[in-house]
Symmetry: C2
Subunit: 540 residues, 2 copies
Amino acid sequence: MTLALAQTSAGKVPAPPSYRHLPANADTVRWGCFSTTLTPRVEIDSAGIVTIETLTHPAADDLERMVQGDEGAESVYLWTTDRKGVDRRGAGSTDPAVCKVGSGDGRGVHILTGPVHGRGAKPGDVLELRILDCVPRPGANPDFAGKSFGSNAAAWWGYHYNDMPGGSKREVITIYRVDATGDKSRAKAVCNFRWGPQTDPFRVTRPTIDYPGGPVDHALTDFTFNVLKGIRIPIRPYFGTLGVAPAEADFVDSVPPSHTGGNVDKWPIGKGAIMYSPVSVEGALVSVGDPHASQGDSELCGTAIECSLAGTFQSILHKKADLAGTPLQEMDRPMLETRVEWVVQGFSGPNHLGALGATAQADIYGKPSVDDAMRDAFAKTRRFLTTTKGLTEDDAHSPMSVGVDFGITPVADRNWGAHAIVPCHREEGHLLGPRLIGARPPPFPNDGPARGGACGGSACRKDAPGTWPIYSAARAMRRPSLSPMPGLLCPRTDRRGPARPTAAPSPKPGAGRSGRSPAVAAPGMPRIRRKAPVRAPRAS
Amino acid sequence: MTLALAQTSAGKVPAPPSYRHLPANADTVRWGCFSTTLTPRVEIDSAGIVTIETLTHPAADDLERMVQGDEGAESVYLWTTDRKGVDRRGAGSTDPAVCKVGSGDGRGVHILTGPVHGRGAKPGDVLELRILDCVPRPGANPDFAGKSFGSNAAAWWGYHYNDMPGGSKREVITIYRVDATGDKSRAKAVCNFRWGPQTDPFRVTRPTIDYPGGPVDHALTDFTFNVLKGIRIPIRPYFGTLGVAPAEADFVDSVPPSHTGGNVDKWPIGKGAIMYSPVSVEGALVSVGDPHASQGDSELCGTAIECSLAGTFQSILHKKADLAGTPLQEMDRPMLETRVEWVVQGFSGPNHLGALGATAQADIYGKPSVDDAMRDAFAKTRRFLTTTKGLTEDDAHSPMSVGVDFGITPVADRNWGAHAIVPCHREEGHLLGPRLIGARPPPFPNDGPARGGACGGSACRKDAPGTWPIYSAARAMRRPSLSPMPGLLCPRTDRRGPARPTAAPSPKPGAGRSGRSPAVAAPGMPRIRRKAPVRAPRAS
């Protein structure tokens, strides 16, 4: 029985669920990996709700717009000549004698918040994560009040990189402005620049973007303003990376998505959507990151509009013993559900960690293929229809051909993907009846009208859930009293990993996201040396 | 200057454009090929409007529902022991001493209506075809009044065929019912059956579906009714094949799409859309067919809901000399435009006829690849953005990554496809500004309120054009007075092809689609021997 049904059958107004708030700072995030070794940052019961703040990993492309004044982000991006706010960056070694490009070796790039421990979750269970809200994180630099910013990199790992006219290789960063007030639902390019060799505070020079978090020295770049004139990008905020920890390795590179979800990079994973993940380790260990203001299917040039977001999630635990005969019975893959569709995701390597053995994390980078991903998406969709709707295979082929749309995403993550969009909204006469679990989140007390949010694109609007203002992520960011549970927001310690540098400043108690540091670079932040722009950047 | 602008600037109510109506019968269609050798069935000026009826090629899967009583369809499907309504079926030889599986060798399967000659069109020009209307063709068997039917084949050329669990190979036909009154926007499966070896009226037995138009003997098949229970397919009627004749060969197999369009199999090619095609031969020679009530991106199992439709088109000719500096300047590929998006289509073989030489039509069947199609879609989209919006390549990569969705279709036509969806609707803040040519069709006199049409899916509704009832395809089918121009609906004669059998009955003058033959099999139609169904088929 689902939560909603249970509550309805009880015939009374349900009690509010437990609620937690997990801000983003050097104590609650790590860089580039899922890991079974991490101490949970928060615990929730089934049906519990948590607001999770997330930070975007390429914010150092424009520290002035995307980090400065944001205490949580500053603690993460802290990097001076002798210390880093978060030392490990990737799933590689942190031993200076072993790693080649820096601690963690940059094998995995995303800033991930968490993990969140789901009480009672065991391997074999299925975790349902309902995304109740998803909004851009407002910039904290008063020079750009009311705006958020995001960065897009046309980078060496992009699909286009080996197919440049003339053969010239180059990386280009485009900075986008996103309205953070919720009044406008589109992004606009502010400027772009070619990424050139950069020397990090530890005096390591890198010719291309191969280690996350290194501040871009804008004295070395040529900004071009007034780019992409007349072009506005409809925003559809979502979490590029959302998943549970895989059991297969202690530290798992966050770039290739896999059977436990992770870096799926499918844009409907935003407000109103539900993500199902097979639990692989005790407590599930949910992590969220790689926040995107907008991305097209494919993420062609390597990244989306990478923009810090906050999300509010409700976690529902489905125990293994209860799965038989339900659509979740054979859920050995991530799956997404919105109000109008299921999204069945295929990959070049459906479970590379399980299939490729000890060298899986390196080997998966070798053979990305849309053809392989399409074949996986086809096979998974057929199995989804046969198990969920009780169809024979012969019956399943026909609706897959006449009513299911196959698309491509991502081609930026080296475990390329293809997905199937299966329409599911009964009222509009769509394909396969009501939602998988069949229940909207039950009503809860609220304290005012719903906030529109910045998620105004038509695709997002149609998926918008009901009125849940008390759980609004935007409000949570303004409510320091809704801080994490005492005792769980402990200093970040990898249980089996190397000791973490202790230099990261602790967030002020109760400050959370809302505490603003002065509008100057925080201690330890690199100085921003900006050339005089061609056009005044303040307009952005 | 566009037509609309010219008319607006003239400051007066424009005169109605010329109008023609091209019914579908053995004199106006051929089976399976584009050809430069065909006598045009109708001629139109630029801005002229034509209603074109189309027939679906697998209607012999269920003659009772899809052909019987429909005089035009009966003339096409006529096949007795000594004659066929349309002899050639495909782009192959019609010489009995050469062809292996029958006249035309089944190399190309679609029933195509036309060609339509665009007056003044020359190679190098671009033809814009606006699809003003698109509706299912009502069934003519009074036993199924008010309904249309379509057939879906999970066939040997489907993506799934070599990936059957257990390795068993089989072909399955599913018959769908489509509401033809416009009141319902969904299709429902009526029954399915396994396709077994069939012997055609010329006594040739074929183990699989390899020659179009052969009547299925239902005495040899096991119908299963009540299939796909609870599953309804949202319909989105469109033309799977729409294009101009390529210059590269006399007879071109209609299955693989190419640079002149053809079998693109992308479902937005319906009401409200515009298709642009590069003119390859004098008069352009437009053909339309492969009508679909609905199809998902991929057309996975080999076909859509293959269902006869009628469409009303306005043809706008853009002369080569006027293209410089416009978005059509480098239009060497088909392109689709709807109210909200451009669809840039890539293929495994972007121009197989030009690239693969004399054996192109056979070789293109050899190496279908989604990866190749994706690369082509990427390159074409980049070029579209650089030429249409004046972007540099570096500027174009970013919006392609953050705002363009890549999808997969078709994987059924041996020249597999991938497409890019570029949003273009300015009012909703979408990506790249207004429509390509920027004009809705200008208003014309009408004779009453618009008919809703059966195209009721949300995707179709948002693309629905204005009120054009006099050019409604449904009305045209009921208005025999709006018949083709005298003198152009001449007996079908391939200029260089073999003589056509003369046995096809001519349509009654003025009967067009609306003339109903008696509700019995017409002379020459195969007798329908139906087993007693498990459930009463009349309900369908």
